[in-house]
Symmetry: D3
Subunit: 232 residues, 6 copies
Amino acid sequence: MTTPTMNQLGIVRRSIERADRAAVERLQRLGSATVHEAMGRVGLLKPYMRPIWPDAQVAGTAVTVLLHPGDNWMMHVAAEQIQPGDIVVAAITAECTDGYFGDLLATSFMARGAKALVIDAGVRDVRILKEMGFPVWSRAISAKGTIKATLGSVNIPVICAGALVNPGDVIVADDDGVAVVPAADAVRVAAVAQQREDLEADKRAKLAGGVLGLDMYGMREPLAKAGLRYID
Amino acid sequence: MTTPTMNQLGIVRRSIERADRAAVERLQRLGSATVHEAMGRVGLLKPYMRPIWPDAQVAGTAVTVLLHPGDNWMMHVAAEQIQPGDIVVAAITAECTDGYFGDLLATSFMARGAKALVIDAGVRDVRILKEMGFPVWSRAISAKGTIKATLGSVNIPVICAGALVNPGDVIVADDDGVAVVPAADAVRVAAVAQQREDLEADKRAKLAGGVLGLDMYGMREPLAKAGLRYID
Amino acid sequence: MTTPTMNQLGIVRRSIERADRAAVERLQRLGSATVHEAMGRVGLLKPYMRPIWPDAQVAGTAVTVLLHPGDNWMMHVAAEQIQPGDIVVAAITAECTDGYFGDLLATSFMARGAKALVIDAGVRDVRILKEMGFPVWSRAISAKGTIKATLGSVNIPVICAGALVNPGDVIVADDDGVAVVPAADAVRVAAVAQQREDLEADKRAKLAGGVLGLDMYGMREPLAKAGLRYID
Amino acid sequence: MTTPTMNQLGIVRRSIERADRAAVERLQRLGSATVHEAMGRVGLLKPYMRPIWPDAQVAGTAVTVLLHPGDNWMMHVAAEQIQPGDIVVAAITAECTDGYFGDLLATSFMARGAKALVIDAGVRDVRILKEMGFPVWSRAISAKGTIKATLGSVNIPVICAGALVNPGDVIVADDDGVAVVPAADAVRVAAVAQQREDLEADKRAKLAGGVLGLDMYGMREPLAKAGLRYID
Amino acid sequence: MTTPTMNQLGIVRRSIERADRAAVERLQRLGSATVHEAMGRVGLLKPYMRPIWPDAQVAGTAVTVLLHPGDNWMMHVAAEQIQPGDIVVAAITAECTDGYFGDLLATSFMARGAKALVIDAGVRDVRILKEMGFPVWSRAISAKGTIKATLGSVNIPVICAGALVNPGDVIVADDDGVAVVPAADAVRVAAVAQQREDLEADKRAKLAGGVLGLDMYGMREPLAKAGLRYID
Amino acid sequence: MTTPTMNQLGIVRRSIERADRAAVERLQRLGSATVHEAMGRVGLLKPYMRPIWPDAQVAGTAVTVLLHPGDNWMMHVAAEQIQPGDIVVAAITAECTDGYFGDLLATSFMARGAKALVIDAGVRDVRILKEMGFPVWSRAISAKGTIKATLGSVNIPVICAGALVNPGDVIVADDDGVAVVPAADAVRVAAVAQQREDLEADKRAKLAGGVLGLDMYGMREPLAKAGLRYID
């Protein structure tokens, strides 16, 4: 699992180990913020990754694809590797905002069972994608098209928006951003995240009733120790 | 009222002078663009400050908080200083996009009577914040959490997104951005802004009827003097 | 048709040749992505140009205006040159995010028959513009106002967001971005774009039925020739 | 002279009209700031275009090249069109920071008589380019290489860093940035710029002697009229 | 000392209280990093402020000027207020990269005794400024000129690159950035900073001799307590 | 080798496998551009990573460190793991420009035998670092200091400026940027890169003699096939 080198370009891995399906479903309900906290505040893609339409919340297993700037040839290769419940994660070898993905590819991805696309570049046909209900997280929206000329790879480890994604990892995406959970950690992270979530309902009720976080979390003493001074 | 120095870190000012409540209400109806014009085209936070959901228009009195990158401890200290009608204005000592604020803090802020949050950093749980109807203007949305380790200050003068905000100042925020009116100027600015607004209805009717700004504003002569030439 | 020099500042061209009206209407239905493809993947403004409200799709003939930073005087001069079906394209001589345009100018532009504004700067009163149904593509939203002090020009060639726009050219704008079609090419581009569009319905049906792009486009052989290897 | 469309991709214009050689030499001595002022404060590429090594000041006639992201094939086509005294101006059809140009191409360009490269993308081998004394203005420095797969064009009008450059135009570049003077205006702009420059020596002597600009330019009265107030 | 409002535009304060001269000299030797640490890690302008030539290290008392985008009229007004040892701090009411300052103004500023310019915009003639030995910290370098049309103010509190600067405050600038010390704090900050500096020589010698910071600062125990684990 | 999760925070790996020393030396002579080409045009950190002083060219084996925003505690932990010939590669869990590293840490790193620092954040004391001859590649220069409060990790896989770096990998850095070669590939990449380099001397001589790349690379036929047209 290293930086792709010569012998990893032009490769398609057909058999990948996908994270536990039940854990994926639990992670989807919990959302990216809670999941990232449960992992120890790591595992997020950079915050420039934004949904192209609001209110979607999904989780799925990663099919990864490495593309070259302005070239979406490998998207079609990736389509064949999609299984129901997958999320395609597309990384580019250089910064690019071109529109790699539109309604035709979305039609194909949906036919294969894909739940979403996460791409460190641009997409287009965004109004139609919204009507189709296909969620995308991207760094840009751009009408600019791409060519089909250069080989990349499918299902190799990729770095997408600053995060390492291995094929089969869990992708959790919502309005707050995109988190990646290593496949081997999915069950445990889901459990920890659920515990976190369970505690929140009680806290929310207290805070809504006017209890201050200062008291609920017992912060007054450590704040005073750290030297906080109140003046009038 | 200077740049915070040693003796201003770790301080909470409990008694602040809030701007005139009636003036705040008038300023809320007028909006950020009109208010900024009435002040002589100053007093705006930088335009990277965007609402996390559209169509909110609020005004309130500033409770300020100075935070460190990746650390939201003082948000809980600020919560206690909120009075009904306040807007919390959060500045960070360095550029940061972390998600300092989510649905739990929003629950607490709303229980205290806060009308909004303006933060020169990121927030999260944005879908829930929208459902709660709690408006936020921020530079980013990010699932990334923060720690609680370092003292900042509450109700000291802060520089938020390029604007100086003193506690008690009026914050006017809508889809166009965020304006700050010094507390002492609130009544006068509200009056000037209202005059501006009153003149606009008549102008709007004329322009809708096909009268050109060139004629309505008497621009043809100064344009000709400045050397404007019409060619065919 | 060159970079504006001394003798092109302070000029208003009254008679411009507008692109064929029927072609403009066909281009509007096709959208920016298809139009840009039909031109050979050129003719797009940079992707930082975003609509201020979603779901608008327009095309019109360009009335161009060159403005100075923080100065919208020439917008009023431009208003007089608008004919029904035009889209105003505003370029600035330096990068600027100020709010050059609000509800009053929009009222005037609509009264003249303008279909939209494309501006490489900021606009304000965005909530009202949305209510008025006047679409704008801009680089920023900002409450910051402008002055009226310096001459620019109207209906000279301008460079807006990285694209050359001549007065009379066709502007095609939607959620994916903004494309410009030279007036002389409008009929031909509309025809090519329509052909492209006609082919897509069939492709979409096949992809929805589970046919892979790999097979539909005959990509398997060229991919193998390029060296793509499948591993398990 | 329009936005490149279908019939302008894959074209090399061999015969271009270069600006007056003597005017180019005069413009070189005057520098980008003075030249841009003499044109009426227009004609500059965006300020993100920076020299890769300091203190170079050149002017030359433009050989233009339009490239695709990550593809420098047309640089070799452009090399053949270079005549002594030319400056190659490279535009890209989308934003890209790849290193399109290194010491081998520089060797070839120098052998053809090129004076410099202006490129709205990245370059590499910058230490060697500095040793070779070949000046480059670029938006980035990047070790990232490019491929040779897609046709662009040579000696068509291009938009480079926000400015329209026609083949044969004068490029004036120094530490302050890059200016473009239309070939037809070169003689006149050189004359106006020289007049400007001639006046500066006298002004500089006065200012060095302690005379204030307020007095030298007669600003006190207009400032007072505009309402400037002095307080103690 | 508030955000500039109506009654603060078009104002020149002639009598300002400058920080203690001896303290300024001590702060100059200490540099921006040490000074900022001595203030409790506050007081820095944003890191996009960069020197236009390397190796300068200066401190001086602030003469402030508030300018409008693309307009440097008030620079000439500011020149008259300069006293030997001052540093001019220029803020702009909106983001702008234009070249507000060149060799003529530098000649005038130097004749008045100015030590440097700090400007949240662009400058030009940078090669000549380097030859003149006049240091500038700016956000940009740009050949683009400005006009002289709109009033700003001199010696009012300004926000420059995210920091509040009052006239008379100490500005400390070097290759690491720009710090501002409130005039009233200058003597105390200089003393604290000097203590910090005095301790560094000893630490440097130890570290050069191979002692680890882990041992010198006694970090091993707190790291272990925090849970650091060493594995092989 | 995955995204760091809970069980990888607060960890220091003491025994890492460093790349072949002889290969590192060969890679150093070849530079980042040639090495990246030899790897198949992958393996580069993003081009915003720039040297703080020019003309350095180094290669070494990576000691990695993962830091939190505004906190450089683990830099001291990393110092102990440095062996002669190492380059420290520092990644941050969120975007940050603070000055994590100055002359004291550089003194310690040099005493341990470190050849350079590569950090996806800011550094300070840059004038002294230049005098010391310690090269740094960073995303920013900032006087802003950091605290020592939160655990990170040393010698785990990190993502630095968009590239995955495993401890022991080869880092090659020069004025063009920073490349990373997986330890296991170092010998092979050095051989391929050397072959590339060997071919360049001959090419350079030909190009200097006026031979065109069009002829030397046999491009005329493929260009004609692709449809390139020459016009007069």
